[in-house]
């Protein structure tokens, strides 16, 4: 529907009195017709309908690209993640949804190094604001598009995002 001219509001003119009055009427009618043309187009073109009949089309559901369902941590095939435990996400979170528990690993050189122990995520507090994802310096977490989160017990919404036994990928600082 690119052929509808964009309506431009009337430019204020110096002409007063009767001319202005008639111009007002003309512009009013024109802008009303532009609106009616748009709704009339939608009324006759049902292919534009954006409603998704959710439980029926569960298999073929198409979610918008930016739809955000929950925070997940990415793990590769070696069960390794990219989280350094820097707590940038925890600090960025506006309502204390994320709690990072850290531990100290011993590096091959025998030094102590801070590492992630548990990434605790309270889904029940999350507003899907995406600030943690933006804050993460190593892109360890992302927003998944799953949204069927209902459970019978509230405690099930508190999740630990790093897989058991996972460790940080080589070369991530």
């Amino acid at each position: 529907m690119n052929d509808v001219p964009n309506y431009k509001p009337p430019v204020p003119s110096s002409s007063g009195g009767a001319v202005k009055y008639l111009k007002n009427i003309f512009h009013a009618i024109r802008s009303l017709l532009v609106g009616m043309r748009r709704t009339g187009y939608y009324f006759t073109h049902h292919k534009e309908i954006i409603t998704q009949q959710y439980p029926d089309n569960r298999e073929t559901l198409k979610l918008p690209e930016r739809f955000k369902g929950e925070v997940v941590m990415l793990h590769d095939e070696n069960n390794e993640h990219a989280c350094t435990g820097c707590t940038a996400c925890e600090l960025a979170c506006p309502n204390a949804t994320i709690k990072i528990v850290t531990k100290f690993d011993i590096t091959p050189e025998g030094k102590k190094k801070k590492a992630l122990d548990k990434f605790v995520y309270h889904l029940e507090l999350c507003t899907m604001c995406n600030l943690c994802i933006i804050a993460c310096p190593t892109d360890a977490i992302k927003m998944a598009q799953t949204f069927e989160h209902s459970v019978f017990d509230r405690s099930k919404l508190t999740k630990i995002l790093n897989n058991p036994g996972s460790k940080i990928r080589e070369g991530i600082e």
Binding site: T39, Y42, F43, I50
Partner: protein, 379 residues
């Protein structure tokens, strides 16, 4: 409700049958009248005719309520790129039956501080006014409840009683939102009646009669909107705007403005009492569109083009009731189109539109139409 009793009837048969009946409706009503007059004495025949007419009007109301509600919901959905009700019955067409059933079993609450008598009276008055307005409308050829000689005047007079039921509801609810809604509605209806009346007068001047069937017969050679040049087109536009305002529909729905006044004058109403207001709104929309179709689009007159005999015969073959309901529902669709396109006006914009634009234009327009009628310039 029984103001019909004094009326001189052309009898009616159940209007439910209108669109399905292949015979002319006036034949059916004449047959019923003859049969009643043969079987009973004249008084009882008249009483029975009135009972039949009353039942017919009530069943028309019920049908209109059911059809217009589902129509509005579908139209609004499609205009807003939604699907609308599609679960109850085939394609969701039984949705309004389900809604009616829900309203029937709901509790009709009367608030503690309300004036109980007025509170319960208001929805009844709203519906009675709508029923009274049905009387002079010609639904098909020679098919009219009451063919009175001042039909147009009667309609514009009775339709203004509507505001009393709204004011009554607003006042009796003992609720500031209701009262504000009712007061807005009062200001609105009083203002817009002027331009509605003046645009109706344009047709009265051209047709030279206040009788609705005379006005329809004056359009046998062409509807007024085609015959009357620019003045009739202008007055048709003004009529549509004014009746949209008079029936309190968006963009003039600031009497119920749900974002500001919860629901305006019917905030405190529930169950069947609310349903009566709801029904009255839709019936009023039907009535004003029927009047508009009668005055400007020729009522039940078929569409004819000049001397194209073949085309005109085909048009004559379509029953007159279908012509009438087709035109009426077209106008109803236009008013729904307005509702789902335009945003609500503020009260100052509303009064500006009426007093600075519609009223002067319609006065000037009436003058123009009078000149045309006197000089005989219309076709």
């Amino acid at each position: 409700m029984l103001a019909f009793i004094k009326l001189n009837f052309l009898i009616s048969y159940s209007l439910f049958l209108i669109s399905y009946s292949m015979w002319s409706l006036s034949n059916i009503t004449n047959n019923i009248q003859n049969w009643l007059n043969q079987s009973f004495n004249p008084t009882w025949a008249l009483v029975l005719e009135m009972v039949i007419a009353g039942i017919a009007v009530i069943s028309l109301f019920a049908m209109l309520g059911l059809i217009l509600v589902i129509m509005e919901r579908k139209v609004s959905a499609w205009m807003q790129i939604r699907l609308g009700p599609n679960r109850v019955g085939p394609k969701g067409l039984l949705q309004s039956f389900a809604d009616t059933l829900k309203l029937l079993v709901k509790e009709g609450l009367t608030p503690g501080g309300a004036d109980k008598f007025l509170f319960n009276l208001a929805p009844v008055i709203a519906l009675v006014v709508a029923m009274l307005l049905m009387a002079p409308i010609a639904f098909a050829k020679d098919f009219q409840l009451w063919n009175l000689n001042i039909g147009v005047l009667y309609v514009s007079a009775v339709s203004s009683i509507m505001v009393i039921s709204i004011l009554m509801a607003g006042w009796a609810s003992n609720n500031k939102y209701s009262l504000m809604g009712a007061m807005r509605s009062g200001a609105q209806i009083v203002s817009y009646e002027l331009s509605a009346g003046l645009s109706v007068l344009t047709i009265v001047v051209l047709a030279g009669s206040l009788n609705i069937s005379d006005i329809i017969y004056s359009q046998a050679d062409g509807w007024w909107i085609f015959k009357g040049h620019l003045p009739v087109i202008i007055s048709f536009v003004i009529f549509i705007i004014a009746v949209t305002a008079e029936t309190n529909r968006a963009p003039f729905d600031l009497a119920e403005a749900e974002s500001e006044l919860t629901a305006g004058f019917h905030t405190e109403y529930s169950g069947m009492k609310f349903a009566l207001f709801f029904l009255a709104e839709y019936v009023n929309v039907f009535i004003v569109c029927a009047i508009g179709a009668t005055l400007f689009l020729g009522g039940w007159m078929p569409f004819h083009i000049g001397n194209w005999q073949g085309f005109n015969h085909v048009m004559d073959f379509i029953p007159s009731s279908i012509w009438f309901f087709g035109k009426t529902f077209f106008l109803i669709f236009v008013i729904m189109w307005f509702r789902w396109t335009f945003p609500r006006l503020r009260i100052d914009q509303l009064l500006n539109l009426e007093w600075k634009y519609l009223l002067p234009i319609s006065m000037f327009n009436l003058l123009l139409a009078t000149v045309i009628a006197i000089a005989g310039w219309h076709f």
